[in-house]
Symmetry: C2
Subunit: 413 residues, 2 copies
């Protein structure tokens, strides 16, 4: 068996995937296998009793949003009565940042990989702070979600359709030349995204007030494009999945309790271990003791060669996640040690336009003792609070060791 060739094939497929944002639709109507009693969540599979505070908070909020519960107590009762099913977003070609809860009535972005023909999905971004994906579910959180669903989503759907689709790979490539790394810093990407949609938003909105509100919301949220970018990265990573004999990681995802990975040549098996707690900078009024465990599907960005892996391109991110521009540079340089390829399309001006480290090789992670670098938002550990900061974290080494052992066993090496 030629592992090198398999990894070359897998990373080539990852880089050649061309995910285009083609539409927006209700989760129940567009996500394969979405059920009326199903909530999708970030990370590997998990049951209610083991869920972290922020994931529980997002579940409670989603059940209230769906009209299945009036309040927290009713939501908990519903879950404890076994009336709610939980499955990972990743089991449905979807990804969600932080808690990543997607409920049937939520609108989701639809991306199509034009090279390999597969779809991927992600929900809409709510902005920073007190938001559902960080486990908050107060009335203002729900009001914002309803506005997003009732007012913004129809406009976005029509605008995306009118635009003929938005090609996310070149948008990301451009954003990496504008100080983004595509995970925690999406300022430039969100402006490019807003700019691309604006001429269509204006035309499809029912009136100027709605168009103005939508443009303000998209333009002022420096994470507007995060969710389409995550779905694009999901498409890229998915394209690399299922290559016989490949040791390339195709999923990294956390649910706030467990960090899970999947490996290209090992099918749909998850390798999981307890998450770490991110270290970083806290919003005013919060401190390290408030931080919940590492959470979210957004590590799909690092899986696809951006995010923490592209920090050399985004030195200003250190004002948000801690550290110095040199640390950001070092993060990228270190990731070359554990990746198979340098990206053909994602290049970094500060490194002389070198391609981002792409395609985490489980063998290299174990051999060199270097785990992937991730930069991430930090959720409060309790349900109902929200975002408390942003910082840096790594997955547990154990899952890579376990995956490598499983690989050796599976392939009889």
């Amino acid at each position: 068996m030629d592992i090198e060739q398999a990894n070359s094939d897998a990373t080539e497929r990852m880089m050649e995937a061309r995910p285009v944002l083609v539409g927006l639709g209700k989760a129940r109507e567009v996500i394969p296998g979405m059920g009326e009693n199903l909530l999708l969540h970030a990370g590997p599979p998990i049951t209610w009793d083991r869920m972290s505070g922020p994931l529980r908070g997002a579940v409670i909020g989603a059940l209230i949003f769906e009209g299945k519960a009036e309040n927290e107590a009713e939501a908990r009762a519903l879950v404890e009565a076994g009336e709610v099913d939980f499955e990972p977003c990743h089991h449905h070609q979807a990804v969600g940042p932080m808690a990543g809860v997607i409920s049937p009535s939520m609108s989701v972005y639809i991306l199509e990989n034009k090279t390999h023909g597969k779809k991927s999905f992600s929900n809409l971004n709510e902005g920073y702070g007190k938001v559902l994906r960080y486990g908050a579910y107060s009335e203002d959180v729900l009001t914002r979600l309803r506005w997003m669903e009732d007012v913004m989503a129809p406009v976005l759907a029509d605008a995306i359709e009118a635009s003929g689709g938005i090609d996310i790979r070149p948008l990301l490539a451009e954003a990496l030349h504008m100080g983004d790394e595509g995970h925690n810093r999406n300022k430039a990407g969100s402006l490019l995204y807003t700019k691309a949609l604006a001429p269509f938003v204006v035309k499809v909105a029912k009136d100027a007030d709605v168009a103005s509100e939508v443009l303000r919301f998209l333009g002022d949220n420096a994470l507007s494009v995060l969710n389409p970018v995550m779905a694009a990265c999901k498409a890229m990573a998915d394209a690399a999945h299922g290559v016989e004999g490949s040791t390339i990681v195709t999923v990294m995802a956390r649910n706030g309790t467990d960090f899970g990975i999947r490996v290209s040549g090992l099918g749909d098996r998850w390798f999981t271990a307890p998450v770490a707690v991110p270290q970083g900078l806290y919003f005013p009024g919060f401190k390290a003791e408030d931080a919940g465990g590492d959470i979210g599907d957004s590590t799909i960005t690092e899986t696809a060669g951006i995010g923490g892996f592209a920090m050399a391109s985004a030195p200003a991110i250190v004002t948000f996640v801690s550290g110095t521009p040199k640390d950001a540079m070092n993060a990228t340089l270190e990731m070359y040690e554990i990746c198979y390829a340098e990206h053909k399309y994602f290049t970094m001006p500060p490194l002389g336009f070198r391609g981002t480290p792409t395609g985490i090789d489980v063998r290299k992670v174990v051999e060199k003792g270097i785990t992937p670098r991730v930069n991430t938002g930090i959720a409060h550990k309790d349900a109902g609070v929200g975002q408390v900061g942003a910082g840096l974290v790594r997955p547990p080494m154990a899952i890579f060791e376990e995956a490598l052992a499983a690989f050796a066993e599976h392939y009889g090496i």
Copy 2:
């Protein structure tokens, strides 16, 4: 006389200037001293017989735009009959990129320095390529100018007013963290500018089609914000002008024939010498022999501590102006040698958030033998063609030597 103190005062005033874009108006109505037969132009004073091709081209185009001539021949005849007056933009608190021709009917941005209370002006940006400011005046150039004037300008005027004004210094500071240097690379700044205006554009436009067109034009032109930025830099440099005993440069400007500077402590006297020809990268179909001489007021950006001086923050610019990211870094490092201060508000993540080199000291330029670095667009040498590329250039050392000699004489040193 305490030159150090004077330079400290001058650069402090330069950095503390806070130029806010407060409106848009017709040049004839808002620029002090604007006359009906007057055309403003970039750089130091010049007569028709010595004007470069691109400046002549822009003059011809402006006279046709004004309806004073039907064609090139009529325009030339009008000028040669002495019917047209020419004065530098800088004599009217204005700046214009490249040829910098501002005619009475053109709309101009109005900026107000909220710290020191003075106004500054610049015209609207037309985009790249075949445009008036590069000396083109074909029918499509004039059609675009008329659309900008008749359709876009009223919308911009109302949108700026509705916005309550746009504070350019923080916008620029943010753009410098997003890979712009503020002169030749204004991708991020133009998106931030479009984003800030979009919610208002939508509301003030007469219909969705007009709003859509204006947002597309602003959003797709990566130089949309260049002109407000230049007017902001003019306000900053102006604030530093007229400080008794200061050797800080407060104007650098070129008309395609001469490069001129003014010095804070030397009043309104110009020091001029022939321009160099920029070296750089050419658009397809053009070559170095097509390049005209260095032209434009856009060197006001370097005068205020950005542009070529902030290239360390914009490594991706080398794809446009030539060189490598290391060259871009070195350009900034070299400029520290000839500047008095490091900017308080304009910082560069790749240099550990060090402030940009700010306030060119004539003494240091001469003593160290280092002239300022400028990056710039390149106009075709002939009237009527337009932009042929972008590159790098320096002013002639002679003007700094002459200024220093004049300073010594004036102050009896």
